[in-house]
Amino acid sequence: MHQVTTRTRASTIAGIAALALIAVGLILPAFAPRSLIQDLFFILTMLTLAQLWNLIAGFGGMVSVGQQAFVGIGAYAMFAGVILMGWDPVPAILLGGLAAFLLAIPMAFFAFRLAGAYFAIGTWVIAEVTRLVIAQWKTLGGGTGTSLPREATSDIIGVETIANLFGLRDAAARDVLAYWLALGLAVATMAAIYALLRSRTGLALAAVRDNDNAARSVGVDARRVKWIVFLAAATMTGLVGALIYVQTARISPDAAFSVTNWTAYVIFIAVIGGIGRLEGPILGVLVFWGLQTAFADYGSWYLLALGVLAIATMLFAPRGLWGLIHDRTGLSLFPVQRRLILIDERSKP
């Protein structure tokens, strides 16, 4: 007799804690100050971006340095929906996902021909090309960028309701709406990744990451698995990008396609927290936010310190902070490993 399970006692507790945390997160705007809501928006969007990068790089072995392409194209598609087609900014976020999906198809087509470091450079180059092309789009401000028109931001769906509900001014109510959307995206992304990793496709993804050749020899369609994961991550990244710029309401090609903001920081978060684990980016984003809050005034020194910290982590704790914790305690909040438990017939009642 045997049984197969991924669940542990820690994972059951973590599941309950996660649900409680989500519930608290939902009602938080009722009593939290606006600055906290803004900080949490930042944390949640960076967390989602880091989870998505972790999915393709940590679980899928595709180290992309071009994720800013999807943030940027997603944000610009949302702007195009609002400015050119007169859409409300919130539904226009969906255009961001669609645009990122469409961009990911040619990107994957070219980049999948490359491996390792060449893949990384290839994705970066494609992101830069996308930025240069978008900077030619005069209607959306060309190289200098543009802002969401006041008419569009003043009557976003749901803002008035939120304003009345919590007795807030419109600007603060917009932050609450953006925060809720960020919370929704973060939860949906993590739930989807967790479900994927526990599915049959999760096994295939790990097999392809560990040994492409051997994966094919047991019947895994390696190309298909990579395509699915890359396109899904790109689409979600596009949605996050669009959401970030609904909140910012001002866009320029340099900011929206910033390799520092949308890829370097994101990689930092995943590396510090622990690549290839769902817990990693959660821990990483908190560290990153703490450092940002405490030291961002130091400018380049702050960036240098981040770099040094990332290098030190890679050298001395390559599996990140969560890796250290896991090694010490064996703790896993979101386990994906299928454990075979043998049940001795004789010991059964």
């Binding site: 051997a214 994966a215 020899s217 047991v218 019947g219 299928r338 075979l340």
Partner: protein, 240 residues
């Protein structure tokens, strides 16, 4: 008796080098065929032609009565070709059990829940049950070889290709692995086995094929083949 695999006049060249030269043979269902030959004789290439990793320049390959000469590798796995690699290639970040689950689920096109029992049975047969939850990256060489065998078995093969699976093992380890392979063969699995460790090979196979410079220079009863002058001269490098 039906043939699981038939090669007729199969040739393959890399540039000017002919690595497979007009090779023809058939493997009946349930048979264990050994392949020997000096290094560079084209043994592994022959496997790659059967699995579909390489496509032949000429000739025809038939698997279970179907012409698979141009069939993609992945489809051949689903049709029932399982292989173990000369150098073990485990999925190191997965456990032993998960390695088998992956192979079984994808090799047979089934859901995970449907293949769990079969995977446990294979773990027992290959003496890996105690290490089921261990990461494959932490295994010893013998266990890696066992995992190669187990993972190939998990794909549910009609035809099992073993590439130098006994190489690099100590005598005792080799004996243990041979016993496992003999057990699988007794269950009726058709096997083609490339091996340099001759006594391991001849203790299992019923038929032996000798390859040299891409050509078949002998096929038949292992004792007769090993006794033939030509084989001794070419394969063992003996003066006649």
């Amino acid at each position: 008796m039906t043939d699981v695999l038939t090669l007729s006049h199969v040739s393959k060249s890399f540039g000017a080098l002919k690595v497979t030269d007009d090779v023809s043979f058939a493997v009946p269902k349930g048979q264990a065929l050994g392949i020997i030959g000096p290094n560079g004789a084209g043994k592994s290439t022959l496997f790659n032609l059967v699995t579909g990793n390489f496509l032949p320049d000429a000739g025809q390959i038939t698997l279970l009565g179907r012409d698979v000469t141009r069939t993609p590798a992945m489809e051949r796995v689903r049709m029932g070709v399982g292989r173990s690699f000369q150098i073990p290639q485990p999925f190191e970040g997965l456990t032993v059990f998960e390695n088998l689950l992956t192979a079984a689920a994808y090799g047979q096109g089934k859901r995970e829940a449907e293949v769990q029992d079969a995977c446990v049975a294979i773990l027992k047969d290959t003496e890996l049950l105690a290490k089921a939850n261990q990461l494959a990256g932490t295994l010893s060489l013998l266990d890696r070889k066992r995992l190669e065998l187990a993972r190939a078995m998990a794909t549910g093969p009609e035809l099992l290709l073993l590439d130098e699976i006994a190489g690099g093992l100590t005598e005792g380890e080799c004996q243990a692995l041979v016993a496992t392979i003999r057990g699988l063969h007794a269950q009726g699995v058709t096997i083609i086995w490339i091996e340099h460790v001759l006594h391991a090979l001849t203790s299992v196979v019923e038929r032996l094929l000798v390859l040299d410079f891409g050509r078949v220079i002998g096929i038949g009863d292992p004792d007769q083949i090993m006794a033939s002058k030509e084989v001794r001269e070419i394969y063992l490098g003996m003066e006649v």
